[in-house]
Amino acid sequence: MSEVIATNQTILVVGGGISGLTAALEAAECGKQVILLEKSPTVGGRVAQLYKYFPKLCFPTCGLEIQYRRLKANKNIRLLTLAEVTQVTGSEGDYDVTVALSPRYVTENCTACGDCEKAVAAEFDDEHNYGLKQRKGAYLPSMMAYPQRYVIDPRIIGTADAEAAKGACKAGAVDLDMQAQSLNLKVGAIIWATGWTPYDAAKIQPYGYDRFANVITNVEFERMLDPFGPTGGKIVRPSDGQAPSNIAFIQCAGSRDRNHLLHCSRICCMATLKQTNYVRENLGDAAKSTVYYIDIRAIDRIDDFHRKVKADANVSFTKSKVANIAENKANGNLVLHGVDTEGYNRYANEHDLVVLAVGMESTVPAGVFPEGFKINEHNFIELDPANGAIYGAGCSSDALDVNRAAQNATASALRAIQVINRVAGQEG
């Protein structure tokens, strides 16, 4: 790896999802030097795993393609993947950052030809598909992965598979001796954009995600729609591979809940409305969707999408927080129990697939930031003078949708630039 040059006029962006990409690109296109760190082998983050965006029902990879082209064209950005920040010390204009780099075992000579993948036998859960599918021990994280370079899973290092991968690579790009490294960076400002993780549905005990095959999460449902995903683009029940005909979407699964995430995750209402649209597109009149909700938060001008879904005769809405789910052992169906608060009627409704609209859990880490750094009770980084020039962006700052995350990341880029320009002014 060539030397990474950083000074106190460099902006460090942590996280290569849509927010980090946006912040890095916007700052770099103002002429600033940026180092972009991504923990996984590819940038793109959560949006790369979405089938479509609400409310436009357009494809996230379309925007990623543009962002990647901007990234490829911009010499002000240095991208490091498999890179995780372990410590930040210092203050505004003068931070010392320790970065742990994990080995990819594949060098820049990789042409992404795929020969190593064919040579390797071992398979693992595919992260891109939330483990619903297997991938090889030598893999390209997704078709849109950038850098477009293979990765050798550390779990095959030392096995015959690793040697097979090395042997298959005609470009000489497999380096099994690659070691973990530590890197120290001096930077002037930091944009923290490590995003979110879907709330662990197994923790919502009454919904039986860990016990019932046909209870899935909204992010898993999203993967089903990808023609190259685990089900080849078909909506099916995990238990028997059959198309469902009566799907329940449960809102606020883990959000707005004292036992789980206190906050509202903002995106789940629109995500569900969007997913009812997938049901309509894929299964037509053969499937009904029921949305169990507290409030439908289809905020601002995209409320028209909500109204359009409400007008769909195949979609119905029940104002209720579902109390618990039982499985009908005979057919794998799920019986939802609760009270419809509009009129206070008890129900026991049987559905053949349940999609939990799980919330966003912030991934801001503990123990990394300088003393006195403020992270709020929901684990978000708010704008606070106590935080110096470390700015939360995207879903590290609040639960945001893609549009607001990109907007917020753009604002964060300016905050970082203000610091850099001040430093540059002092140094002349």
Partner: protein, 750 residues
């Protein structure tokens, strides 16, 4: 650039040498492609291969590099050379990965590869290294229009980054709607309840900064120029005027509350005790923490009902079809004023929308303060005696209910203070010119009640920023909230999209960044998103121009003006380099250094055309580089097979496709032409807004050309595709190949 010298480099890696005769590709490059140097390499993208090319550039004077190997989207870091042009012949994703490895297929696969080498060399001959025009200097000054919280934030944030600001406000003081507020919903830590809006603090900060020049009682009379060199004329109420030069513009003109007089069924206009949120806010401000007194008789209010979604989220005529986003938290805040003063407050809602962590926390603070929240549908608000009677259906108890309140607050929506939609204005002008009275009446009705121009842009395409929906000037892209259809002009706050104060401040900060970026880009001659950094810009040959104005009309960004003689004036800092003007030009006088009628036209002509009896048809695909081309790459990565008769040329946008390419293709014997672009129409996905739509329109007129040539109209087809059509695009190609098989070969083979 000195004499042209093409170096063609053929990569043998990734299975190319196993599948293709690379020696023969070298001779195609040197013989047909006229490459001065042709070399093979085992792995062109490794350090050794790249060094070999660099050596030829430095030592042999190669200034046009042709890489024959993988897709232009792959190995971009390796193939990046300074001061030379770069062409890529895609033999990996575009040939060997989409063709079967069989003896039978070998010949046609090799022909496909050889054509791509010819095409890349042909392109190389007509490419130039773009240089910026130098039309703009570095002007680190931005104009902010609107002195409310959004505008003040944009001004302060830009100033903090070291930029000068011209802040224009039409009223006599700064502060806008927020200055009338008693308190605001907090931007963080929602549990703390309402907080001080701190508007005075912002005003004071602005006044103390010499880099911000405030113009009160002022409007923008005229804006001309381009990013990096906007000239604005400011007019004051008193009639005086002044001029300013700015590099970029932020429009933060905010909103006005929806007129409650339009809601008589909810008591709007029926009593002074039925007010909108801003009206109630002013009463709270006057009370300053004491009991709020109602307007009719000064009685201290003991019971206030807040009616959410008043006249909004409704398709009824005259209502607002959207949700204004802030009204739920605003009502909670105001209900908390009432509770704090010892009264009762009820919020009647449909969906309570307090998203995110701060929003939900604020809702919780309202609940803890004892505000009553009821899901209810209000049927009427009547004023009788000293009370306001709110009749509603309680949706939780499923029964009709009545609440007698001292006051009712209607949570009406935000009406954006955008200027008139420029396209409607142009349509109106044209309808009047054609005496189309029905259309005139329709357009006048659509424009009625709108606001006067904000920017008075001296643009061929109208005075203001185009609207997206309902008068909001929002971006149409999820990924790019600051996508602007008037380069260097960014809108922020409630004029862009309904939003609360915290979001408006965040939005204004982002818009300030984009304005700063526009100044920096303009100075360097660099394009803005999505072709960020592109230095090329449209040049035109004046002698050939017929002043037909198609380029000035069709530019999706209003970049092109007309001079007195109706010649186009390009304003390259406004240009986004999509090439729609080039596609529009009937006399083909518009070109870019690195993209022109020739760079594409010569490629398609460079293809070796088998004769009519060879049974080897040729299909031309012009594929949008943003979505269709990546999809084709991924078809290769997943080894979807498609016809060996197809030749793909990426284009910047389907809008840049000049019909001469189609005519040339048909005249040179192609049997079919396929155009692949992004979704058009209301839900457009075209990154250049109108490009795909223009292409479809132009192609609808190609039938005449086809009939003149006596060719079937099925031979030219336009498709809307997306980046995920990885399986569909190969199928479309194969269907077209089959169709050509049915209708037969073109007679135009030579």
């Amino acid at each position: 650039m000195a004499d042209m010298k093409i170096g063609a480099y053929i990569c043998k890696g990734c299975g190319i040498a196993e599948r293709l005769d690379t020696k023969s590709l070298v001779s195609v490059a040197t013989r047909d492609g006229k490459a001065a140097i042709g070399r093979e390499h085992d792995f062109l993208c490794n350090a050794d291969g790249v060094a070999m090319i660099q050596q030829d550039i430095d030592g042999e004077g190669v200034n046009r590099v042709v890489i024959v190997g993988c897709s232009r989207r792959a190995k971009t870091e390796a193939f990046s050379f300074e001061g030379v042009t770069l062409s890529r012949a895609n033999l990996r994703e575009g040939v060997i990965w989409v063709r079967p490895d069989t003896d039978e297929a070998r010949e046609t696969t090799q022909e496909m590869a050889e054509d791509y080498v010819r095409m890349a060399c042909a392109e190389a001959k007509f490419l130039k290294v773009p240089e910026s025009s130098g039309e703009q200097g570095l002007l680190r000054r931005i104009m902010v229009v609107g002195g409310g919280v959004s505008g003040m934030t944009a001004a302060l944030e830009a100033a903090k980054a070291g930029y000068e600001v011209v802040l224009v406000e039409k009223a006599g003081q700064l502060g806008g709607v927020a200055a009338q507020m008693y308190k605001r919903v907090p931007a963080k830590n929602g549990r703390q309840g309402p907080v001080d809006p701190e508007v005075e603090k912002m005003v004071h900060a602005i006044e103390s900064l010499p880099s911000i020049k405030v113009h009160l009682n002022t409007t923008v009379a005229k804006t001309s120029g381009a990013p990096g060199r906007f000239k604005v004329e400011l007019a004051t109420e008193s009639g005086s005027s002044s001029e300013a030069e700015v590099g970029a513009i932020v429009q933060a003109t905010g909103f006005v509350p929806y007129d409650i007089n339009k809601l008589p069924e909810l008591g709007g206009g029926k009593s002074p005790d039925v007010v909108d949120q801003l009206g109630f806010e002013m009463l709270a401000k006057a009370a300053n923490g004491g009991p709020i007194k109602r307007p009719s008789d000064g009685k201290e209010v003991g019971n206030v009902v807040f009616v959410q979604c008043a006249g909004q989220r409704s398709e009824a005529p005259g209502h607002l079809p959207y949700c204004s986003g802030h009204c739920c938290t605003t009502s909670i805040k105001q209900a908390m004023y009432v509770k704090a003063a010892g009264g009762d407050a009820t919020v009647l809602f449909d969906d309570l929308r307090t998203p995110g962590a701060t929003g939900e926390d604020f809702y919780r603070a309202g609940q803890e303060a004892g505000v009553t929240f009821s899901k209810g549908q209000v049927s009427s608000v009547e004023v009788a005696g000293g009370e306001v009677k709110v009749s509603f259906k309680d949706l939780i108890l499923n029964e009709e209910a009545v609440d007698n309140a001292d006051m009712v607050v209607l949570a009406t929506g935000m009406v954006p203070m955008s200027g008139p939609d420029p396209y409607l204005m142009l349509d109106l002008e044209s309808a009047r010119g054609q005496n189309d009275t029905a259309r005139v009446a329709d357009l006048e009705a659509q424009l009625e009640g709108g606001f006067p121009s904000v920017l008075n842009l001296d643009y061929r395409q109208g005075t203001d920023v185009p609207h997206l929906k309902h008068g909001f000037t929002d971006s149409h892209f999820i990924c790019f909230p600051y996508e602007s259809r008037r380069t260097g002009v960014y809108t922020a706050g409630p004029v862009r999209r309904p939003m609360d104060m915290a979001q408006a401040m965040e939005d204004a900060t982002g818009a300030a960044l984009k304005a700063i970026q526009a100044c920096e880009n303009a100075a360097l001659g660099r394009a803005a998103h999505p072709r960020s950094g592109d230095l090329s810009f449209p040049k035109f040959r004046m002698e050939g121009c017929t002043q037909c104005k198609r380029c000035t009309v069709e530019c999706p960004f209003g970049a092109i003006n007309e001079d007195e003689k109706r010649y186009p004036l390009f304003n390259e800092a406004r240009c986004r380099r999509c090439g729609t003007c080039m596609g529009a030009c009937p006399v083909r006088v518009i070109s870019f250094e690195n993209y022109s009628v020739e760079t594409v036209g010569q490629q398609l002509k460079a293809v070796d055309m088998p004769d009519e009896f060879s049974e080897k048809p040729r299909l031309l695909v012009l594929a949008c580089e943003n979505d269709a081309y990546p999809a084709l790459d991924m078809a290769g990565m997943t080894h979807q097979e498609y016809s060996a008769y197809v030749r793909v040329i990426p284009v910047r946008c389907l809008g840049s496709v000049n019909t001469i390419w189609i005519t040339d293709a048909l005249n040179s014997g192609y049997d079919g032409v396929m155009l692949m672009g992004c979704q058009k129409g209301d839900n457009y996905q075209c990154h250049f807004v109108k490009g795909s739509e223009m292409a479809h329109y132009r192609m609808s007129k190609i039938d005449d050309t086809l009939s003149q040539l006596n060719l079937e109209k099925e031979r030219v087809q336009t498709f809307e595709v997306s980046i995920t059509d990885i399986e569909r695009i190969p199928k479309i190609i194969n269907d077209m190949a089959e169709l050509i098989g049915q209708i037969g070969m073109s007679p135009f083979k030579f």
